[in-house]
Amino acid sequence: MIDLCKGDEDAFSEVIRRFQAPIFSLLIRMLGNEEDAQEMLQLTFCRVYRYKDKFDPERKLVNWIFTIASNLAKKEWRRRSRWVNVPLEHVNLTSSGKTAPHYNAGRIELKASIEEAVDRLAPHYREPFILREQEQMSYEDISDILNIRLGTVKSRINRARAKLRELLDEVWEEWK
């Protein structure tokens, strides 16, 4: 990042190469479609470049970039929710096959159901859950990225898990 601040263009390429996958993954989960996620991903890196001088060296670079992406995703979400009102909660998933599935087939089905259930979580529960489970971030880092208190991170992740247990109860019973 220091190199990037000095105007090293290769450092910027390195930043893109290192962070594009996790940021894109988060944006897709947050926005639900590839097109918007791609656009937000481009905007994220544009902002990283434009605001590189404002980067606080005390902060982790990964946290700073995730904060930019998260803020853009939230803005986009707010813009969208003004026009589209999709109920994200109180949806119970049901297993498509009622017969006892083969272990692997069941696992694939469970995986698909988990993906669907994660997408159905409210955004403020989904985001910390994804950062924790997919990016393996610590509670402190999540708190820094989302600019929320540590206790809030714990409670949101806990609620996300509770909601997922509720949504996946039937599928899990069949799978196990």
Binding site: N158, R161, L168, D169, K176
Partner: protein
């Protein structure tokens, strides 16, 4: 040391911490003790572990090709600034538009809350009551008749004596 007990709500909060490896030794022992006698929490922890394991390996999306070139193009042509302005312009326009509508409504539309337009409730009991208390006041909002404020103050002063 006194006996420490835990209900399922507290246990489930610790389940999440245990899965993330953020629970203290004391919390872990408390949970273990609770799990010995609670089948629903045992199920919850097994389920959460499975979900966590699978959620950690969810399918990674295909990365966009030429991302770096696209970003550099955007930076060169400054389309990122124009694009974000265009995307989020709605938020800045909503408040002035709402304010303009309100001003228009207050200026040009007739006031619906003028006292003449309020209809008296058609209640026979009320008319009997009205004849006894001719100085009762009617609330504009609810249509409920109440005694004037002076009545209350007089009553209060009498009570105080």
């Amino acid at each position: 040391m006194g006996r420490v007990e835990m209900n399922c709500t507290k246990a489930l909060k610790i389940v999440s911490l245990v899965i993330d490896g953020e629970a203290t030794e004391f919390q872990r022992r408390l949970l273990d003790f609770h799990l010995l006698g609670c089948s629903s929490c045992r199920k919850a922890i097994r389920m959460s572990r499975d979900i966590s394991k699978i959620a950690g390996n969810l399918s990674a999306p295909m990365l966009p090709v030429n991302l770096e070139n696209d970003v550099r193009d955007m930076l060169r042509t400054r389309t990122d600034i124009k694009q974000s302005e265009h995307r989020f312009r709605g938020a800045f326009l909503t408040i002035p538009a709402a304010a303009a509508l309100l001003i228009f409504a207050f200026t040009f539309l007739p006031h619906s809350s003028c006292p003449e337009s309020i209809t008296e409730p058609q209640n026979i009991g009320m008319t009997v009551f009205e004849s006894k208390n001719s100085d009762m006041q009617m609330s504009l909002k609810s249509g409920i008749r109440t005694a004037p404020l002076s009545e209350y103050s007089r009553q209060a002063s009498l009570i105080s004596f």
